[in-house]
C-alpha cells in the first residue's frame, strides 16, 4: 500500500532528525556529570526529549537531582493529553498498551493524528515510535561517548548548548502572541527568583504560576 510506504518514509525522516538531536542530549547529559549508564538509562526509560533535557540541565546547572526530576515530570504531563487523543485511535489493551504508552510523545502523536484512517493512524504511531526509539538511543550513546573523550566541555561551548536546545524545543510552540508572552514572562520571573532560592526551584515557581494562570483564565 503506497500510503504506508509514505508514512514509513516520513517516520524514518523524523527518527533521523531526532537521532541527531539525541546526540546533543548525550553530550549535554555527559557534560552535566551523568555517567554513560545514567545517560543511556534516561533515553531508554524516560524516552521523552524535553523532560530528559530538563533533568540534565538542572543537574548541570548545580541543581539537585530531585528538582530536575520534578521538572522532568512536569514537562512529561503533556504526554498524558497526547494519550487521551490517541486512546480511541490506538485501541490498545494489555501488553500492547504497556509498550505503546512508552511511545506516547510529541512526534508519534503528530504522525498518528495527521491520518484520517484509524488503521493508518495506528501504523504511523507504531512505525514512528519504533524508528524513533532505536535512533534516539543510538544518538544518545554517540553523543555521550564523544563527550567522554573531551576533557573540558566548556572549550567546545557545551555549556551554551542546553539553552539553545530548550529554545529549539520551545520555538514551535510560540506561533501565537499569548504563548510568546507567557514564555517571556516565565523567563524573566525565573531569572529574578534565581538568586533567592535553591537551584531548580525557579522552575517550580514558574510551573505553579502558569498552572494558576491557566486555571483562572477564561
Amino acid at each position: 500500500m503506497p500510503a504506508t510506504r509514505g508514512i514509513a518514509r516520513d517516520a524514518v525522516g523524523i527518527a533521523i532528525a531526532s537521532g541527531a538531536y539525541a546526540i546533543s542530549f548525550g553530550a549535554i547529559a555527559t557534560a552535566a556529570g551523568l555517567s554513560l549508564l545514567q545517560t543511556g538509562a534516561l533515553s531508554l526509560l524516560m524516552f521523552t526529549g524535553a523532560s530528559q533535557f530538563a533533568l540534565v540541565g538542572v543537574v548541570g546547572a548545580g541543581g539537585s537531582i530531585w528538582a530536575g526530576a520534578v521538572a522532568a515530570a512536569l514537562l512529561g504531563s503533556r504526554n498524558t493529553l497526547y494519550g487521551v487523543r490517541l486512546s480511541t485511535m490506538l485501541e490498545v489493551r494489555g501488553w500492547r498498551r504497556a509498550v505503546g504508552s512508552h511511545f506516547v510523545i510529541d512526534e508519534t502523536t503528530a504522525m498518528a493524528i495527521a491520518r484520517d484512517d484509524p488503521q493508518l493512524s495506528r501504523y504511523a504511531f507504531w512505525v514512528t515510535g519504533v524508528a524513533l526509539f532505536v535512533l534516539w538511543n543510538t544518538g544518545t550513546l554517540i553523543g555521550a561517548l564523544a563527550t567522554q573523550a573531551i576533557s573540558d566541555p566548556k572549550v567546545f561551548g557545551l555549556d551554551a548548548a542546553p539553552p539553545a536546545a530548550y529554545l529549539a524545543l520551545l520555538a514551535p510552540r510560540l506561533r501565537a502572541r499569548e504563548p510568546l508572552a507567557i514564555a517571556l514572562a516565565a523567563a524573566v520571573i525565573a531569572i529574578l527568583a534565581l538568586p533567592f532560592v535553591p537551584a531548580g526551584v525557579p522552575l517550580l515557581i514558574v510551573a505553579a504560576l502558569v498552572a494558576v494562570f491557566g486555571a483562572f483564565r477564561k
Binding site: L34, A54, A71, H102, L158, A186, A190
Partner: protein, 99 residues
Amino acid sequence: MTWAGVLVASAACYVLKLAGLSLPQHWLQDGRVQRTVPLIPIALLAALVGTQTFATGQHLVLDVRAAALAVAVAAVILRAPFLVVVAVAAATAALLRLL
C-alpha cells in the same frame, strides 16, 4: 542519589504516558486541564533558557552564553534544524572564549 532521581523521574514520565491511554476520557477532557497543560512546557522551557543563559549557580552573570543564545535565536528564526541551532550556539561560545 543520581540513580534514584533518574529512575523515579523515568517512572513518573511513564506513568503520565500510561495515564493518558488508561484513565477515563472525561477525566482529562475538562477544558481547564486541556488549556493549562500545554502552557506548562512553554513556561518551563522558557525558564530553563533564561536561568541557564544568565546565571552560574545562584549568581546572575552576563557572559558568552548570552551571545550564543542570540545566535541560537537567529538560527531558530531562520528555521534551522535542531542540531544546527545547538551547534552554532556552542560554536559561538567556544569561539568567543578563544578571543
